[in-house]
Symmetry: D2
Subunit: 412 residues, 4 copies
């Protein structure tokens, strides 16, 4: 099937930009995407899709267009607690509240605004070109990707009992590559990720009486330092693993040694054995360092567990061929897996169908040339060049969908 | 002069308990003691004292009783950002807001409620016994002792231009000793204290891309660890020094390596040379550890500097004798200086008059026997036995004042 | 060419075993292989080869057999300062003296004894089968592989001015795999390795006077700890790097804080950019940690630099095919590069000819089954099953040589 | 008694200098003082004293001079494994062998050469002035002071069964003060000292295979770092404690992760409770850090335990008065206890008699003025100005002895 439908006209571009700017300016935190969910639902219903809310702040849109295969496309919807520093005139000034009550700035710092924009435009395009395809497309607007809570929540809320089951699930992510290019891995595509919250218990005392205390900040600092040895000494040098302590919080006043400190740790691995060893070593080190301080056993809470994101090799090869036709073969690059994590893979795995996930570039050549190093995802400066990025993202998504649905009155 | 005036009657006890419970239940944070200030002012004015507000939330009450010496008595008024866990039925449930906007619980965790109660009761007693003494007593209700901001603020606000200058300044502090006993040092009584806020600058990146980051949490942890060597290796083993990192905060999300982390450090020393070496070493270590990470120079802000609290030896000896008469000689214990710090000393030093500061016990023998180790100041469990503690505190304060004011119609 | 010459007869086996046991029992330290060199020279001359001593304790044997290609085969000759704990009846009890005068035990803990045994047997076999091949084989018995000093020394001593230049250089290494199998990489085969000696300068003082000292042991310990962050935080998680502190020595007496401490660090990388970053970070951390202690700049001496070991892809493919024929195709395994390092690559690189290097298994299936985890190279328990290991090593070496020399009276 | 006997004549000075230079040039290691013991024995016997060898390399000389009290005087005899860097023409070039076989330089780096010189000269003086005193003086030349092994060894070898029991035991030590001055403490005079050797067990592997190892150097470094928190966080800021890791040794080769590392730790405390807490914390940290590495329990061996050195207050006061008469009252300074340790105290404690120990200055005013900071004990530059130092040391020792022996034909 030739992709003759590419939506490069001015109207589509204008609409996409408006959508994008609106979504960019209104980020919401993971599993709190209430306004976003309402906005998406309204849009989908305006286009005539069936919708249902699923997994709290998720929404599913179903587009039926006669007999034919069913294909699912997933876009994630949550923003991040980052203070935007892009200087864009539609930059976010929104603030939200973390689960622990902390007031934080919010930003679409991981590009989920582009994902939603592409998905809505894709829906509109398929609605307005009913003769170009046949079958059913399920649009999954998933909340809580950043926390790994969203896919699980949608599945638990009966996603596949309420939506038609697809033959394949597609998804994509913007990243700081050249707009117009796609990076794709066959097999394991993204890392497993495990996040824990560790609460270190010490004994509070006045700052001048360390001998009366068990200092949880000194203890926590030794844990952070000691955790570095897991990657440096315990993981095979040719195996990938990351152990990041993303937060560390303890104490309210400089002259009080607090009773507790807490930190979060985020682990990335590709290999189940490596993951097991790393997590075991974390537990061992955390427990032993507490003992070294004469402190009680720290409390470890699992915050999230991201599964591996696995691209079905056959479906991936087929998509590479299709995307090569649409974008140019030298714009579709097969890459090794990346350290990032995703809960996308769960959606297909839950019903035993293949899925494919890829990265699409977000920056123009001009921006790349002008900047020594463009801002990456989760940076306060992350600002894709939305025109070329969205156009290419839409092309890729449309290509993927059309490669699997049927032709009207004919075979797929 | 014999202390025949000791207010041991039931009314005084009842009044003191009511005052104490009210004040205990309503702590406020340093330099935010607005309600406390209003309450104290009302009470002082009800007693007929002249008052003026000074240093923001401080208040001064002047009690004139004919010709005679002027004596100043200082009580501090601020609470702490601690979640009270005493289980008392008048425990604080109040919450306040730190300068950085953090919402925190509040507690009179350092006994300043007892100090205010004693001072108000002392004022009432002197007012109701005008024939027992002559002269002027200046009651200084100082805010912001915990942050070292209050004495400086009152002096800057013209304390001694607006109040009569005293021949001596007295002050006392409750601590977890036996109620009825007083601990007092001659000469240096309390440590110098220096508090800094250190902001560590790294480079933000996604948690899966440590090589793109300069990790400020790992850097900060190494600083905390390395700072331990200042006391362990750089200070003469027989000289006292404390380096406490009371707070450490960095990061908002487990999968983002943040751009910065910040910690506060509190240093206690008795000796000017030791102080200089410790502070120099802190600066050296903080700068070098940042270099070890390839990070920019951290920012160091001085939060507070507490001077030495110096008890005039002659005045101290005189007071020891007087207190021995009032409390029993074996209840007045001369002790070496303590590691705690105070800005009390500044009040007298600013006008070149002597001052004396002492500790009074807060726990009954019964409590001490029943508890393996009674809760100390700044503990969430700090709960003096208010009846004996307040009675003894009042006795000590009254004894001190009466030892220096005059007798009606006679010499001091 | 079919390998019909495989030396599986009893005499060869017996001779190899005798050779092996003798060499195993007489290890010598790197660049001190005097007795080994004399032994090898005698053996080579007994076989009628021309020999010359080269690079101190290296020896070259030249076997000419008519017109034809020239092929070089290299075996390394040095032992290690390890106390052998194999319990073998021919275990080494030898002791040697390190450059700094330390008396140490010695052991062929890396299997160079098997390499020499194979090479000598190979020479004997070629000598005794002159009609089976034509051309010249250069046997390079290289000293000092463990320290990276030997290949450089032989080249500097005119190796290729004194020996015929080959069309290719082969070499192999025993490792704890199954005897009869060969592991081989195409392209980069082994890591670059850089070793440094770091001398940390402090200030000596009595153990009771830390404040008079700059403690080089505490400083060195902080360096070791801080160096862990290079791999854990600075290297891309999917790039390989190892930073090992192999030795740390400081102090003579428990109650003297010494003036200096010294440690050695060994770095492994595959990628030139990674190597540069790691070495830069090491220098940065070592310098900054000294500053954190107020210590003088440490002294860094480069002990050795191992280049990459690069297997020519075409020559490797050809050898894989030949070895598959000789050992069975499922016994020749193409593997990713290993973290070990070698100076073998220099020998060919110096004259711009290809080289190929592979690993041959050292343990029988029986041993592998009986042992939970067989002892690896550099372990005090390293003890290959010499019969199958030597037979397979000889087969592999002979196959390689014969694949490149000529046939008598014919083309290669 | 007036000290009219002060040996200031030229002959004494010359003899003392010769003795001193000989002893300085011939240091021996602790408990290996064979030559020193022989030299001392010969000298004592030349003077006509009874002698017996005691505690291995110790020697006792008994000088009887009629009826009267018995007084003991102790001098220690061992040198240190330090490379002398004084540049003196009689500097030591001797080398010795530690218990573990290490060849080391040797130096009288703690001034025990001055102690022996003073004691021998004192003996000669008393021998040559028999009419000036009456009674018995026991000269104890004790080996192994540096290791804490000597006093115990002499006692175990029957010191007080073989020598007359004294009424008091005296001893003194040179230190970097002004020659002619004496520093003396009443009560606790020197710290308790505990030395341990800690052997850390890891798992050996090739330097490129950290994941196969348990790295004992990284583990040991974390222990050294973590031990800093004992003094910085666990000891009351006004109590003295020192935890020094004086040696750390692990590894033979930069590319082998060794199986073990070992370090020694030396602890100084004055207070039994502090000692208990520090030693408990050391054990706790060492065990827990091994667990953090997944390593076996380290082995802890006690190397030495120095008791407190306690100066009998009454005897000290009497000596202060006598020394004030001999040296000038402003040259006898009562000081707080020092962090150094001694096994001297055991000698008197074993038989329940009082003892007094003091420090005598070793440097002239000229040297002190010329040097920014004179070299202290255990420094490779330690070089007392022997003329004034020995004269003053002799005066002090003679004064002490004469204050307690009797007068001929009269009462003590």
């Amino acid at each position: 099937m030739t992709v003759t439908l590419l939506p490069t006209d001015d109207t589509t571009t204008r609409t996409m930009q408006e959508l994008y700017r609106h979504l960019h300016a209104h980020p919401e935190l993971s599993m709190q995407e209430t306004e976003t969910c309402a906005f998406l639902t309204r849009r989908l219903e305006d286009l005539g899709l069936e919708t249902f809310r699923c997994g709290g702040t998720g929404v599913v849109g179903i587009l039926r267009n006669g007999a034919g295969p069913t294909v699912a496309y997933r876009a994630d919807t949550d923003g991040l607690p980052i203070q935007e520093e892009t200087g864009l005139d539609y930059a976010s000034t929104a603030r939200g509240t973390l689960a622990d009550g902390t007031d934080v700035p919010m930003m679409h710092g991981c590009g989920h605004d582009t994902h939603m924009t592409v998905a809505l435009t894709l829906a509109e395009h398929l609605v307005t070109h009913p003769t170009a395809w046949a079958g059913t497309v399920v649009f999954i607007f998933q909340p809580g990707e950043e926390t790994g809570a969203g896919a699980v929540a949608m599945l638990a809320d009966g996603l596949w009992d309420r939506a038609p089951r697809p033959q394949i699930v597609y998804g994509q992510h913007v990243w700081p590559g050249l707009a117009g290019t796609v990076d794709i891995s066959s097999g394991v595509a993204m890392a497993m990720a495990d996040s824990w919250k560790v609460t270190v218990h010490g004994r509070q005392a006045h700052g001048s009486q360390p001998d009366q205390s068990i200092d949880p900040i000194v203890l926590g600092a030794h844990m952070v330092v000691r955790l570095q040895t897991v990657v440096s000494r315990e993981v095979h040098p040719m195996k990938a693993a990351v152990v990041t302590v993303g937060t560390f919080h303890g104490g309210l006043k400089e002259n009080i040694i607090p009773a507790t400190a807490e930190f979060t740790v985020n682990v990335r691995t590709f290999d189940v054995e490596v993951r097991t060893r790393v997590l075991d070593s974390l537990r061992r080190i955390i427990a032993a360092e507490a003992q070294a301080s004469g402190a009680p056993d720290p409390m470890i809470e699992v915050l999230s567990t991201f599964p591996r994101c696995y691209n079905d090799p056959a479906a991936t090869q087929q998509l590479i061929d299709e995307l090569g036709g649409a974008l140019g073969t030298n714009c579709v690059i097969e890459v090794p897996p990346v350290m990032g994590s995703e809960d996308f893979g769960l959606l297909a795995e839950a019903i035993g169908v293949p899925s494919v996930y890829w990265m699409f570039g977000g920056y123009s050549q001009q921006t790349i040339d002008a900047t020594k190093s463009v801002a990456g995802n989760h940076s306060p400066h992350f600002a894709p060049d939305s025109e070329p990025a969205l156009a290419a993202g839409l092309t890729a998504a449309l290509t993927a969908i059309l490669s699997r649905v049927g032709t009207p009155g004919g075979a797929a």
